[in-house]
């Protein structure tokens, strides 16, 4: 977790911003409003907009960076559209109840968005904000204070090896930062309205770099050919990862919103691919338990998610703790016949059985132990 900035550090501006060839001529008030001629800081801040790039960047960043800003609304980091879609699908068909669920979603699940400013100028608001490097514009958002500041409990801990006993991702050991795989083009969106991040066309794929794994001269072409389109890369190459359970939200006596999740655990589970597509044709993928629960929004409305079974809460995941050698890829029988690696009916709570029926591996589809391996 990234250390928060002191209050004055959050708003300190490096005077060398005036030398910025592109932004140095802009007056503060041109983007933020307020009155630069007023020496009284209290009144000078009347009408000041902290993040002028959210929710509409067209008059600020978009005035010059128009080709990026035109995709802003459909950018998943801004819109968080899949959240709404998933909750809508699980919500009750009753209009009044549905509206209450949507209200709770808007109150609790729309905070973790980003914006132009909250990647390139400041830390994201969801992690208490604060200017990055004194408001000097960051072409590439810094990993620790931006990307993993939000993607902390799962991605950061996996990638940096902060989960006890599990080494950092092999790409981290090679000094990769997030942007090595997640390009600016992917982050800015391409104007398409995607249902989830796994559909994003310019999202990273292992084969973008490891294109030669099927070649005869590659390290292990036979294994790669045998499993091609059968299992995802992560099934063989990721280590155990974090799973969270039972998220509940509400408002406390003082009017503050709260979030509660029960214990999280480190597990590794292979299941059936819930999002099979041309892009992800594999039958077996790694699955992660996500914290949504039947009564997540019970504080606001009872039985809000009566269609909970529409979607699994064991979801396709691509853990960021990749290793070349893992316990499950040592030999064929390190995986084949190892029931404990697979999501079986007994691993799923009785109340979640229906929701996860399409991802649980039935006994007849478990890969059998191989003789002579």
């Amino acid at each position: 977790m990234v250390e928060p900035l002191a209050p004055h550090e959050k708003i300190w501006v490096d005077s060398s911003i005036a030398e910025d060839e592109y932004h140095g001529d802009l007056g503060c008030h041109e983007c933020h409003g307020g009155d630069p001629s007023d020496p009284n800081w209290k009144t000078a801040h009347d009408g000041v907009v902290k993040d002028p790039s959210y929710p509409d960047p067209s008059g600020t960043c978009g005035a010059c960076h128009d080709s990026i800003a035109e995709n802003y609304d459909k950018n998943l980091h801004v819109s968080l559209a899949p959240f709404k879609k998933m909750i809508d699908m699980r919500a009750s068909d009753d209009k009044d109840i549905h509206a209450k669920v949507d209200g709770a979603r808007q109150r609790h699940c729309t905070e973790c968005h980003s914006s132009c400013g909250q990647c390139h100028i400041s830390r994201p608001e969801a992690v208490e904000g604060g200017l990055l490097d004194g408001h000097l514009f960051q072409k590439t958002p810094p990993m620790h204070t931006v990307c993993t500041a939000c993607h902390g409990s799962r991605i950061e801990k996996e990638f940096l090896g902060k989960n006890k006993g599990i080494p950092p991702d092999v790409h981290k050991k090679k000094y990769f930062k997030c942007n090595k795989c997640h390009t600016a083009e992917e982050m800015h969106g391409d104007g398409e309205e995607y249902a989830n991040r796994y559909e994003v066309k310019n999202g990273p794929q292992c084969l973008d770099c490891h294109e030669d794994i099927y070649e005869p001269q590659a390290a292990n072409p036979k294994s790669h050919w045998i499993h091609k389109d059968q299992v995802s890369c992560q099934v063989c190459h990721s280590m155990p990862y974090k799973n969270c359970y039972s998220c509940h939200v509400g408002t406390d006596k003082q009017g503050f919103k709260y979030y509660k999740t029960k214990a999280s655990d480190i597990q590794f589970k292979i299941g059936l691919n819930p999002l099979q597509s041309d892009r992800r044709p594999e039958e077996f993928v790694t699955l992660r338990h996500v914290p949504v629960d039947q009564d997540t929004f019970d504080f606001y409305v009872k039985d809000g998610l009566t269609n909970f079974d529409q979607l699994p809460n064991w979801k396709l995941t691509t853990p960021h703790n990749i290793q070349r050698h893992t316990p499950q890829n040592k030999t064929c029988n390190s995986c084949h016949g190892k029931e404990e690696l697979f999501l079986l009916e007994k691993d799923v709570k009785p109340k979640d059985q229906k929701a996860n029926k399409d991802v649980v591996v039935p006994p007849e589809r478990l890969p059998r132990k191989r003789s002579g391996s």
């Binding site: 004055h8 708003i11 630069p36 408002t251 003082q254 029960k262 214990a263």
Partner: protein, 71 residues
């Protein structure tokens, strides 16, 4: 000769205009100090102001104490 005289007068007028315009701009900048910039680039001032704000807000909780677990 007339042309040369005209050119000299024109250049003189232009120079006077430029000098006047430049000095008025400088005067304007000095009068219209950008207080956002002078304050936000001064760490000492910011420390003083943020401490004032903290004093005012010291009894106000920043968020719910009921939040628990990982997100």
């Amino acid at each position: 000769m007339k042309m040369i005289k005209f050119a000299v007068h024109f250049a003189l007028a232009l120079t006077i205009c430029l000098v006047f315009f430049w000095s008025s701009r400088v005067t304007w900048s000095a009068e219209e100090e950008n207080h956002c910039f002078t304050c936000h680039t001064n760490a000492g001032k910011l420390i003083k102001i943020t401490r004032e704000i903290q004093k005012v807000n010291k009894d106000k909780p920043g968020g719910s104490a009921e939040t628990e677990g990982e997100g």
